[in-house]
């Protein structure tokens, strides 16, 4: 059995459709041939670095950087221009990447990111517009073994340090093959690219487009407040976003009947999808099939799916949330109790998933990897413990998401460990008794984080600045409330429920 590399799809498309558009961004459009030229240049520059960080946002450099890195046999580590320099530096250090590919904006941000690093990395400043002749990277494509690392995706870690999920070529290949079979994308498709590269749902956008020879369309900054116009103007055929984006459009009155006649596929992932939002979207894009995808980064982008059906889905929804459906064919999902024994149908339990999309584990973190990648009693395969509480009403019903078994929340689809925010709060305030809660609550999770600190006389402006210099914007508390002391529950732990009640009452100081 052959294991084509992750970049083989792009290489095939570049050979078959050299003149078709590959990328549309705020600065213009590139064909597959032009992109291949950029990719070849970057692959040559990357050389023998095993891991390569990318600091670029929705420019040709960003995408050529991903492909060029893979072509050179290395793994890519996405950084984010919206992150504070300290977080990008932490990711860079933890990943051990010794090369950084940067575009214009990335170059401007680099001095601060690199300040204080003991061994500064090599910088690949990509700005060349002329494609080097004679790109023939196929020999590289052929030798990539399936267990080769493809990317490191850093997510919020409960200890206060971001943790890197290590994903192999074989993992992503398995995912992309399943998705190509399901969605049948073609060179005529025009796909949205809403996700930042540090969010692994961007892997779907990029590799599906390149596999199909389709056009990837990046939103500009103004497009982000007018996503409906973005879909219409570019006549997108495939939309993929967090449900929050659809809720935003609904709020602005953009989800009118038949607003998006060009769409064939409407895909949502990253956070719970409210049935009401799915229903309105389906009416706005009547020519499209609406699907709710589910999956943590540790299972390679997504591992389960539910196809929205206006008749059946509302009945199958739990608390107004669309089911997460069934695991992809070839993956196995079980619902277990804390001893990892399967629960009977109808009972809630933690979702565990096994199969070829189970990733390599956490980068340089054996302890955490062993805790999350487990072999339940009586089994031989490795299952990933998702930490998600799910239930299946009866054997014929789809899986439904109920909540988390820990303190992780989702903000606009981003994973946020409240414990990581609290660690940052302790350091910024110098106080031990702190708490972070997801607030305000939305249909699909929380809109932001609100913090509580037990103390008095704190300099809030200074505290906010310290938090903003350490955490990604979506994790920075939008309000900080100072209380004389924090309410505790019977176990002596901070009572988050009481804090949420305080926020709901509007009496929080």
């Amino acid at each position: 059995m052959s294991h084509p590399s992750l970049q083989s799809g792009f290489l095939r498309s570049a050979a078959e459709y050299p003149d078709r558009p590959c990328l549309r961004w705020s600065g213009g459009e590139l064909t597959y041939a032009e992109m291949a030229g950029r990719v070849g240049g970057i692959a040559a520059a990357v050389g023998d670095s095993p891991r390569v960080a990318i600091l670029a946002d929705r420019t040709p450099t960003a995408y050529a950087g991903v492909l060029g890195t893979l072509m050179a046999g290395a793994a890519y580590v996405p950084l984010n221009l919206a992150f504070p320099a300290a977080r990008n530096r932490a990711i860079l250090e933890r990943s051990g990447a010794m090369t950084v590919i940067a575009d214009q904006a990335g170059i401007a941000a680099l001095p601060e990111v690199l300040s204080g690093l003991s061994s500064p990395p090599t910088i690949v400043a990509d700005g060349v517009d002329v494609a080097p002749a004679g790109l023939d990277p196929t020999h590289r494509a052929a030798i990539t073994a399936p267990e080769t690392l493809a990317y490191l995706m850093f997510t919020s870690g409960s200890t206060g340090v971001p943790k890197g999920v290590a994903v192999s070529h074989g993992n992503v290949r398995a995912f992309v093959d399943r998705m190509m079979q399901r969605y049948g994308l073609t060179p005529g498709d025009r796909m949205s690219q809403m996700f930042d590269m540090t969010f692994d749902l961007s892997v779907f956008d990029q590799f599906m487009a390149w596999e199909a020879g389709a056009l990837l369309v990046c939103p500009s900054r103004p497009d982000l407040v007018n996503p409906a116009g973005f879909i219409q103007r570019n006549e997108l055929t495939t939309w993929f976003s967090v449900p929050s984006a659809a809720m935003f459009m609904r709020r602005l009155g953009s989800l009118t009947p038949d607003a998006f006649p060009s769409l064939r596929w409407s895909l949502f992932c990253g956070e719970p999808l409210p049935a009401e939002v799915a229903r309105e979207w389906a009416a706005a894009a009547p020519g499209s099939t609406v699907e709710n995808l589910y999956g943590p980064t540790e299972l390679t982008v997504a591992c389960a799916v539910h196809r929205w059906d206006p008749d059946g889905s509302p009945r199958q929804s739990t608390h107004g949330i669309v089911p997460i459906g069934e695991p992809f064919a070839g993956l196995e999902a079980i619902v277990v109790d804390p001893s990892l024994a399967e629960v009977p149908p109808g009972a809630p339990g933690e979702l565990l998933v096994a199969g070829d999309q189970v990733t390599l584990g956490y980068w340089n973190d054996r302890e955490r990897t062993d805790a999350a990648f487990v072999t339940p009693p009586g089994r031989t395969e490795t299952f990933y413990r998702t930490g998600d509480l799910v239930t299946r009403a009866d054997p014929g019903s789809p899986l439904c998401y109920l909540g988390r078994i820990d303190h992780q929340i989702k903000i606009l689809g981003h994973r946020v460990e409240l414990l990581e925010v609290e660690a940052a709060l302790r350091s910024a305030s110098g106080r031990d008794s702190v708490a972070a809660v997801g607030w305000p609550r939305t249909e699909s999770g929380a809109a932001g984080v609100v913090a509580f600190v037990a103390g008095g006389g704190e300099d809030l402006t200074r505290m906010r600045a310290k938090l903003a210099s350490r955490l990604p914007p979506y994790m920075v508390p939008r309000r900080i409330h100072i209380l004389p002391e924090l309410p505790l529950n019977a176990n002596g732990k901070v009572d988050r429920g009481a804090l949420e009640a305080l926020l709901a009452s509007g009496d929080a100081p």
């Binding site: 103004p222 982000l224 407040v225 007018n226 409906a228 709020r251 602005l252 009155g253 932001g448």
Partner: protein
């Protein structure tokens, strides 16, 4: 509901005092042609927060379907749109 354009403009910009200060502006000096998005004062999430705050303050539900997208984040056109919305509410 009787609301003056100036009052509404102040309410809107006061809500944004903190993010305005972060980019070196203040509610009194922000010009009508200031694009809050381009200036980095709000993102799409901040826009939703702003809408929620104004709905709370004026006790009404605001509708943006008729406002051209390029005007959505510009102080002058946004304020004028909000005024027509708020004045349409029966008192």
């Amino acid at each position: 509901m009787t609301v003056e354009l100036g009052e509404l403009r102040s309410a809107l910009l006061e809500t944004l005092a903190e993010p305005l200060a972060a980019v070196g502006l203040d509610p009194d000096s922000a010009p009508d042609d200031l694009d809050l998005l381009a200036a980095g004062v709000i993102d799409s999430f901040g826009l939703l927060e702003l809408i929620a705050a104004l709905e709370d303050r004026f006790g009404t539900t605001l509708d943006f379907a008729d406002l051209p997208a390029e005007d959505l984040t510009v102080v002058g056109p946004l304020t004028r749109h909000l005024l027509t919305q708020i004045q349409a509410v029966p008192t």
